[in-house]
Symmetry: C2
Subunit: 425 residues, 2 copies
């Protein structure tokens, strides 16, 4: 009785909902410059209103709106030029009724002005006298002192990785440091007597270089984690247990790509069982490729046992490992993935209750006949061609542009179906 034949395969959606290790990374303070993609541990608030003063949104003349009522080309309003506001300086010119101050875009509105007339609707008919040919309402051409951000308002939420514009907003608010979740340290180890380090120049017969660890490290980095490579462990229960124990102790997430033979997989499962409570959550996922996946929680730290085949390992880590990694990292939002819709070039079958991940290559779709495409036409511009093959072949992944997920409810897609392709980037 081998593990392979008798483990209970849980559905991926069940596993993602049910497997919820408690581990979260600690909190550290980083400079704003280094905060791109980092995850705020609590909402970031603005200490002051922004822009902080009423600003002009146009080049023109700050005035009192009431003074322009009824102004037109044929019957302009006339205002005395009371002065000019300089960029970046306090507006020290007073704008009384019947007067106006020249003001550039972005400058501070003089205290008694309540609108700005665009320069396009004015003329200087004689020095010191402005002719206004269109009325303005109160607030026209003006951004309020707290229109961008109110005092104490949230400028970046907790749990969402900081984006470029968030860093811009932090800069605007004068925030120089942010409390963020530490990057999760992810132990990556490989097992298998056939697996040798990628640096091995000359392979002995029967050996393969470890491809999975390098790809996993890149995926971890991309997702904001910090890979902690633990090398290759021989198919030896004691060595494996020792390495895993150290990894669980040092890291926030442990990923083992198990040897591809049944024996090697069983040893990994046994070693994980011995690590800590509550232990193995499931052994076997209803996913293709990737069935022999193991999920465990050892003293709060998630341990993921991946299949030995590189393709399976990388597919499972993407579908199951990355969501776990993001949760450990304090991310509470859905991270958007690049997708395109495409027409499937041939039928793909799946079993009900199983999640299938089909690698595809994209090519431009045939251009529809003229007149067939409307403005909002959503007919796919791409054709997706499934790439099939044995899951030890990494070339299936390197030649793929993305993948199609056939979820548990579906039993496949017909040829010509419109499918969503998640793109590799």
């Amino acid at each position: 009785m081998t593990g392979r034949e008798f483990f209970t395969a849980q559905s991926v959606s069940q596993a993602l909902a049910g497997f919820q290790p408690s581990r979260r990374t600690g909190i550290e303070t980083v400079s704003r410059e280094a905060a791109l993609g980092r995850v705020p541990a609590s909402p970031v608030m603005s200490g002051s209103a922004l822009p902080g003063f009423a600003r002009s949104t146009v080049d023109g003349y700050a005035a009192r709106a009431a003074d322009t009522y009824g102004a037109s080309e044929s019957l302009p309003a006339y205002l005395d030029l009371a002065g000019a506001v300089r960029m970046g300086a306090a507006a020290d010119t007073a704008v009384r009724s019947g007067t106006a101050a020249a003001i550039p875009t972005g400058a501070a509105i003089p205290v008694d002005a309540d609108a700005v007339v665009m320069v396009e609707y004015t003329q200087v008919t004689m020095p010191g006298l402005i002719e206004v040919t269109r009325p303005v309402a109160v607030g026209d051409g003006v951004v309020r002192a707290d229109e961008d951000v109110a005092v104490g308002a949230e400028i970046a939420p907790a749990g969402r990785p900081l984006r470029a514009q968030d860093l811009g907003m932090l800069a605007a608010a004068g925030v120089t440091k942010v409390a963020v979740h530490a990057r999760p340290r992810v132990a990556i180890l490989s097992t298998g007597d056939e697996v040798v380090p990628p640096e091995t120049a000359q392979l002995e017969p029967g050996q393969v270089r470890d491809a999975t660890a390098s790809a996993l490290a890149a995926m971890v980095t991309e997702a904001g984690g910090e890979p902690s490579p633990r090398g290759i462990v021989a198919d030896d229960a004691e060595a494996l247990t020792k390495t895993l124990q150290a990894a669980v102790h040092d890291c926030d997430l442990v990923v083992v790509s198990a040897g591809s033979s049944v024996g090697a997989r069983d040893e990994t499962a046994a070693a994980v069982e011995s690590l800590g409570a509550p232990g193995v959550y499931c052994h076997g996922l209803a996913i293709k490729p990737g069935k022999p996946t193991l999920l465990a929680e050892c003293d709060g730290v998630p341990v993921i046992g991946l299949p030995g085949n590189p393709l399976s390992a990388l597919v499972v880590f993407r579908m199951v490992g990355l969501p776990v990694l993001r949760r450990v990292a304090g991310i509470t939002v859905t991270v958007p993935e690049p997708t395109v819709t495409a027409t499937l070039s041939r039928a793909v079958a799946s079993a009900a209750g199983r999640l299938d991940v089909v690698q595809v290559r994209l090519s431009p779709a045939h251009v529809p006949a003229p007149g067939r495409r409307g403005e909002n036409d959503t007919a796919p511009e791409h054709t997706a061609t499934p790439i099939f093959g044995f899951s030890a072949l990494l070339s299936l992944l390197t030649s793929a542009d993305g993948y199609v997920v056939i979820d548990e409810a579906a039993t496949g897609f017909d040829e010509g179906s419109t499918v969503t392709v998640t793109m590799y980037r």
Copy 2:
């Protein structure tokens, strides 16, 4: 006559096609571990076939297919057990006609075997004798020595940023170093008398902190570039020219966010004009927000003058600056962006010939009545609500989940249209 009124606005698609500065970054060698997202300068080839030896894809018995022809449950074929292949070792067991060798998944196929019978279709009826209950064809259960990669085959193309699986493939092929394009150095400078460094704790009246430079630096980093911050230059022709000259000399791309007033914009344009040949490509783009954009090439180096308002500046840099940055970086493929389709909550208008970029917030769409959604139903799951406001308000961007592009041919979208939202991440 101000620059604002008389510049000729070029369409964004024209500008993207026509503005092709010659600058490309140099080539440097990086280790595979550091190569994620880096851009190979030439195709990476494999020096050897992969996996390099014929491997079993199943746990079972390596045999000669001819010996199993006609085998069934009722009339099994019988094979003598000639030995066992060990993982990671050469297959030194000879498989002659009438014999078989036990083999785990991934191990080397013995030289004279041509197929592997899965263990599920065998039984050991007495020690040393294997009963086979299903026939196999030549090649069943076997991956050929060059099935993943042939000798000399391309394993990563030039011009496409290296992905996780590409690094896995490089590892499998024993590639430890890659020749890649250097990261483009991008000078980022801001102008405007009102703009002060983000570190300024207490603002004087009329001052704003520089938000744009921080956000641009993050976008550059995200796109694989190396920001080179050049600070804030006063609205002073000489200082600006000097700073720009140094930036063009040191960097692969120069980005200036111009002061928001007309005068400041004119000064930037004048300074850029003086930098080098062929000079200004266009001043004014038919894009909203972002019309006062300037594109120039000075001695091969692209110089992009962005509008002074942070929102406009960041939109233009995303739409126009990033494609230029990627080209300079040697990227020759389209970089996939995360998108979702959504139903527009209200109509948005645009002018024909102008590209409009509308910031939107996403919310879940109303769930259709049961029975209305089919397996391949592509009805949007999201509602996109446009966010409007003055383009100096950075909060429009920080509160957005993504944006909708209304291209030059369209004059807007009706309420309820299905639109593609490009997501910020």
